[in-house]
Symmetry: C2
Subunit: 201 residues, 2 copies
């Protein structure tokens, strides 16, 4: 015996979620059917609407249901700074850290020739057109500090090289609050080479 | 900045799932919007249909989209045995363990006067009617070995006492493959008192 076909289908459908295996999917299906049908109904409806309405911002490509997102529309941001990130989640992390007041551009991934992901797939033609408009003084290449993220940053830097904008990359070093003992060698060597003059106040 | 309103709503909607906090909900929403819209679409649709169609089996109260579930319809099960469980997941666990060939009755919970859950809420009137029909020789009280599960088993045993059916409860003892060191005192003392004659073959 298994559960009824429809209950089995529901459990199977939950497996599309990241990190959800058979046991968790069963628990989710049981929870909604047994204890929270209203919440399940709402999840189904919001998911339906979000999948239909949410697309990319016409200017920065972040996820939004508007043609242009709220941040791109805001008059309080600095148009001369453009920060390039791999995902909306990265963008949010930078916003929550605070301090950056420029604009963004979201790649939704990184270059990955082996997976057939080329420059157009991550919007680099749109990015170049935006920089070509002028008005941008500095591009912050905030792709992930991974092999693919670095390669993508290098590619973008070369592509935008002719437009006379300053390029920067996030600083590498030891994370705040971490213990040196647990920092990997690559990061530690980068932090050593980029060591800063110590100011005692 | 947060995400756009619709994306925020989607993240909020995922929080109805058990064990899903803000970070996991964000990851789920991002995953479906960025990488698996087809899977999200299917989840939304199956959830919608399941919530609409799946109800309780008219005979055993397990979850099913049929008026009577497949197990209740099966001619190969023993009508003289009835196993009472708290949830469809418990029923599945017993089925997967194998060996039991009788019928089931699913309570969908246990008695909990403080939460306002009384006998009717867990279908005990329906259970009594079923036993009153006759034909059942033994009722296996397989509610959970918790305070509430025990109390519910006692209540049911008292309720069905007049119908002359045998009542049994799952054996208590040490779990297979466990180590005594990590078994709690209550279980160990139960296992000691219920010790079995050792047969060497």
């Amino acid at each position: 015996m298994r559960f009824s076909p429809l209950v089995e289908q529901l459990m199977e459908a939950f497996r599309v979620l990241p990190g959800v295996g058979p046991k968790t999917a069963q628990r989710m299906a049981m929870h909604l059917l047994e204890r929270d049908r209203d919440g399940g109904q709402r999840l189904s409806e919001v998911l339906q609407v979000a999948l239909k309405e949410v697309g990319y911002c016409g200017r920065c490509r972040t996820l939004t249901e508007e043609p242009v997102c709220a941040l791109c529309q805001s008059p309080r941001r600095d148009d001369s700074l453009l920060c390039i990130v791999e995902s909306p989640a990265d963008q949010l992390a930078i916003e929550e850290a605070g301090g950056y007041l420029g604009r963004y551009f979201v790649l939704h991934g990184h270059l990955s020739p082996l997976d057939g992901i080329g420059p157009e797939d991550i919007g680099l033609d749109q990015l170049e057109a935006r920089v070509a408009e002028g008005g941008i003084h500095e591009v912050v290449l905030a792709t992930n500090p991974t092999v693919e993220g670095e390669a993508t940053a290098h590619y973008i830097a070369a592509q935008l090289g002719d437009y006379g904008v300053a390029m920067s990359r996030l600083a590498y070093g030891v994370p705040m609050g971490g213990e040196l003992e647990y920092v990997d060698g690559g990061t530690l060597s980068r932090a050593f080479n980029g060591r800063l003059a110590f100011r005692s106040e």
